[in-house]
C-alpha cells in the first residue's frame, strides 16, 4: 500500500490587521483590564471574506502552479462555515479549479475539525486536499475578541513527493465542554479557563500524545517540534511540560494572525513545516471534545515543498488598519446606516448562477478559436471576429498577474468597505475586465500597478442569507 503524507501545503491570512491596543482602547470605559492582553496585532476578515474565500486562497497556495488534476477529494474544516446546508467545500473546490470528478465534504463541529480532517485524509486511500479555514467571532470586549484572528491552511495529501510522512497518530474522544456555541448562536459560551487548562488540555492531550507515540514506536525525546494550538494562553507550554517535551514548542502565531479556530492547528503545522529540516519530527495536537495527535517526519522533499506565500508570507503581507469599528462592522457586530442605495435587492438567480458557472467559478475567459482573442465574459460571439462561443478554449484568468488600466475610488455607490475601488484590469493574455479592487491602502492604487486575483464575496443577500462569490483583484503585496 502506498504511503500517504503531505506533498504540498499553503496558507492564507486576511491582509487586514489591527493592533490589539486599538481594540482594548475602544473598550477601556467598560473593560480596562483588556489593556494587559492587548499586545501585537490580529488579522480580521474583510466584509467580503469568509471561511470559503480564505480556503480558496490557501488551496491555491498549496496547489501552486499545479492544476490539482490528481486530487480526488476536498475536505474543508471550519466552525464558521457560511452555510449550514449547502456544501461549502464544493464552492471551494470549483473556485480552486478542481474538476467535477472530486469528492468533497465539510468537516465542522469542533476546534479539532482541522486535525481530524487531515488525519482522515492521511489514513485514506486517495489524494486529497485538506483545508482548515476559520474566522471565529469574539464578542466585543471579550478576551476572545483580542485573541481571535482568521486564516486558512491547506495540505495536499498524496503518495507522491511526500514532504512530511505521518509516522503515528491517535485520537481520544471526551465530552469535555470547555466552550460551546449552539447552531444559531453568534458567539461562544466558555467555562473557567483554569479548569479548561488543568483538567482539559493538561489531561486529555497527553493521553492522545502517549497513544500516538506508541503508534509511532517513538519516545517524546524523538520529537523536535511540539505544535498545539489553543485560545488559552500557556496551554501548549503546560501540555509540553506535562509530557516532558524538551524541544521547540511552536509559537501560537499570536502576532499578525491570532487564534484562527479550527484552522489554527493547520496554520501552525504549515508554519512549522516552512522551517522544518529533513528528518525533523513534528507532533501536532488538535484539542476539542478529546484530542487528535499526529506525528510527522519531514523528508528530503520538505525544502522543495515550501509554498509561494505560506504562513510567513501571509503574515508579512499585511495591510494595517486603525479603526475598531471597521472590524466590528465587518463581523456584523454593529448595524451601520448604509443609506437607501444599500436597499437594492441582492437576490441571486440560482438558475443563472448554475448556467454561468463554467466561466464565473474559475474565472474562465474564452480564447477565440478563430482569432485568438481572450475575452471575459464569454458571450455568444467573439468580441472581435464574431466567431461563435462554441469555438472558445477555456483560459482561466485566476492565476494571471494583471495590471491596473484605470481605477477610481467611488464614494457614492453602496459598498460595505467604502470607497469602492473599481477599474479596468488588463491581463497578459490580452483580456480586459472591469473589476473591483480590494484591500487597497490609504495611498490608493495607480495605473500600471500589479494585481493578483482573489476569490471574494461579490454581494451579500442579507434578506435571504446568501452570498454571491466572484473574483476581485488586489495589489500584489509583499509576499
Amino acid at each position: 500500500m502506498a504511503e500517504f503524507g503531505i506533498s504540498a501545503f499553503g496558507a492564507y491570512v486576511p491582509r487586514l490587521r489591527i493592533d490589539r491596543a486599538i481594540i482594548a482602547d475602544a473598550h477601556k470605559w467598560a473593560a480596562p483590564s483588556l489593556r494587559g492582553a492587548a499586545k501585537g496585532s490580529r488579522a480580521f476578515t474583510s466584509w467580503d471574506e469568509d471561511a470559503i474565500t480564505m480556503a480558496v486562497e490557501a488551496a491555491r497556495d498549496a496547489l501552486g502552479s499545479g492544476d490539482g488534476a490528481g486530487v480526488k477529494a476536498v475536505r474543508l474544516a471550519s466552525t464558521n462555515l457560511p452555510y449550514a446546508d449547502l456544501q461549502n467545500a464544493a464552492i471551494v473546490a470549483r473556485a480552486a479549479g478542481l474538476p467535477a470528478s472530486v469528492a468533497s465534504s465539510d468537516a465542522a463541529g469542533s476546534q479539532r475539525a482541522g486535525t481530524s480532517a487531515l488525519l482522515q485524509a492521511l489514513k485514506g486511500s486517495e489524494p486529497a486536499l485538506v483545508i482548515g479555514s476559520d474566522n471565529p467571532f469574539g464578542k466585543p470586549a471579550s478576551t476572545q475578541e483580542l485573541s481571535f484572528g482568521a486564516g486558512a491552511a491547506a495540505f495536499l495529501v498524496s503518495d507522491e513527493n511526500v514532504a512530511a510522512r505521518l509516522v503515528g497518530s491517535a485520537s481520544v474522544t471526551e465530552v469535555f465542554v470547555d466552550h460551546f456555541r449552539s447552531t444559531d448562536a453568534g458567539s461562544d459560551y466558555g467555562w473557567e479557563e483554569r479548569w479548561v487548562r488543568d483538567e482539559g488540555y493538561a489531561k486529555i492531550a497527553p493521553a492522545a500524545i502517549k497513544a500516538a507515540l506508541a503508534d509511532a514506536q517513538l519516545a517524546i525525546g524523538d520529537i523536535q517540534h511540539f505544535v498545539m494550538p489553543s485560545y488559552l494562553k500557556g496551554a501548549a507550554d503546560a501540555v509540553a511540560k506535562r509530557v516532558k517535551f524538551a524541544g521547540t514548542v511552536a509559537g501560537g502565531l499570536e502576532d499578525g494572525i491570532g487564534y484562527a479556530g479550527a484552522a489554527h492547528a493547520l496554520l501552525m503545522l504549515a508554519a512549522t513545516l516552512e522551517t522544518a529540516e529533513p528528518g525533523d519530527r513534528i507532533l501536532l495536537v488538535g484539542f476539542g471534545q478529546g484530542a487528535d495527535a499526529l506525528i510527522f517526519q519531514a523528508t528530503d522533499a520538505i525544502k522543495a515543498a515550501k509554498p509561494a506565500r505560506g504562513v510567513a508570507g501571509s503574515i508579512a503581507d499585511a495591510l494595517p488598519t486603525d479603526s475598531y469599528l471597521r472590524l466590528l462592522s465587518f463581523y456584523d457586530g454593529i448595524a451601520m446606516e448604509w443609506g437607501m442605495r444599500s436597499e437594492k435587492s441582492a437576490k441571486t438567480p440560482l438558475t443563472e448562477q448554475y448556467r454561468s458557472g463554467f466561466q464565473l467559478e474559475g474565472f474562465n475567459a474564452g480564447k477565440c478559436g478563430s482569432c485568438g482573442t481572450v475575452q471575459f465574459p464569454q458571450l455568444q460571439y467573439c468580441v472581435r471576429c464574431h466567431a461563435p462561443r462554441e469555438q472558445f478554449e477555456q483560459v482561466s484568468l485566476r492565476d494571471q498577474e494583471a495590471t491596473v488600466l484605470t481605477s477610481t475610488a467611488d464614494w457614492l455607490s453602496y459598498h460595505p468597505s467604502p470607497p469602492l475601488w473599481v477599474g479596468f484590469v488588463e491581463f497578459p493574455s490580452g483580456a480586459r475586465v472591469m473589476m473591483e479592487m480590494v484591500d487597497i491602502g490609504k495611498d490608493g492604487i495607480d495605473t500600471g500597478a500589479k494585481l493578483r486575483m482573489v476569490y471574494r464575496i461579490k454581494e451579500k443577500d442579507r434578506q435571504r442569507g446568501y452570498n454571491r462569490y466572484f473574483w476581485k483583484s488586489t495589489p500584489v503585496g509583499a509576499a
Binding site: T373, S407, L412, V422
Partner: protein, 398 residues
Amino acid sequence: MATGIKDKVAILGMGCSKFGERWDAGSPELMKEAFEEALADAGIERKQIEAAWFGCWGDGINVGNSSIPAAMALRLEGIPVSRVENMCATGTEALRGAAYAVASGAVDIALAIGAEKLKDTGFGGLPPPFKGTFNDMWMPMGSAPAGFAQLAPYYRAKYGTSKEDLKKAISHISWKSHQNGQYSPKAHFQKAVSMETIMNAPMISDPLGLFDCSGVSDGSACAIVTTPEIARAMGKTDLVTIKALQLSTSSGRETQTNDWDGSYVANTRVAAARAYKEAGISDPKKEVSLSEVHDCFSITELVTMEDLGFSDDGRAVFDILDGRYDRDGAMPCQIDGGLKCFGHPIGASGLRMAYEVYNQLLGRAGERQLASPSVGLTHNLGGVPYQGIAAISILGLH
C-alpha cells in the same frame, strides 16, 4: 440605397416642463406640461396625433413599464404608443421613433415624449440599476460618476495634460453652464457659481467634484413631428427640420479588448461620423452653430468636444479655457445650462436638448438667444463611456 432622413421630418411643435425637484408633480403631471405646450406650439389637437413614442428609464421609480402610463396620462385614444428605453439616450430614442414613423410615410403626425420622475426615491442621486441576471454576477456595481471619472486618467496620460489643467478645464465647463443657467427660466439650477466654489467642492469620484455632476431632476419634454410639406400646409413659415438622427451602441470592444485607450467615447465618434454624413456636414467646426451635449459629468463634455470634432484631439482643454464653448464663444455649448443646470431627468433629456436647439433656431430663446444660428446638434449618451449608447440629432432651418 438608403438616403437617410435629412429634411424628411419637420418639427411642428415642442414643449418642455419646468425641470427641477418637482415635489408637486409626478411623471403624468410633468408630461402634461410638456404636452400642452407642444400641442399649442404645433397648433393641433390631440386627436391629430397618429402615433406616439414614450421614453422613460426607470420602471422601478417612475410610472412602471410599457406605454400605457403615457397613453393614460395624455389620453391618447387608441393610437399606437410605444415605450422606449435606452438609458440616458432614451429621449433621443423617442424622437427617433416618431421621426422614422413620419419619414416612412406610415403616419402624418407623430409624438415623442420623454419623462422622468427621479425625486421619488427618497435620496439624492440615481438608484443603483439592475444590470441583468448574468452581469450582476460579476460586474462591479460602480456609480455613474465612477464610470465617467475613469476618462480623466487616460485622457491625461494620452495628451500629457496635468491634473491641474484638466481640473481647471472641467471646472470651466461647469462654470460656463451655470452662467448660462441664469437665463434659463425652466432650468433646475439658475444661479451662477464661481470657479473657486466649483474647484473646491467636495469630491464625488476623483477628479469629479460636486459641481462636475449634473443635476438629478424631474422633468418632461415633448416633440410633435410631421413632414415639411404638411407643416407648410398648416401655415408654418419658419421650419426646423431634422438633418440627421444617429445612434451607436457598444458591442463590447471597449470593455473586452485592448482596442480602446480610455480617453474618448468610441460610440460618439461613430454616431457623429454617420450623423454628419446624413446631414451633409463636412466641417462641423464651421457648420454647426450650437450644441447641447451630454454633460452628465464635466469630463464627458470635455471629451465629447473632441469626439464630435468640435475640438481637435488633445485640444479640448485649451479650447474650453479659451471660451470657445461659452455663450459668447465661437460654438456655444449648453446655452440652456445643459444637463448640469437645466437638469437631467433621464428619459426627457434628449428631447430637452432638441427643445433648446429648436427654440434657438426659431429665434425664440429669450435672454439666451444666440445671433442667427442655423444648425444645432444634440448629443445624448446612455450608459458609461466604455459601454453605452450615443445618440446624435442634427436640427437645422429648412
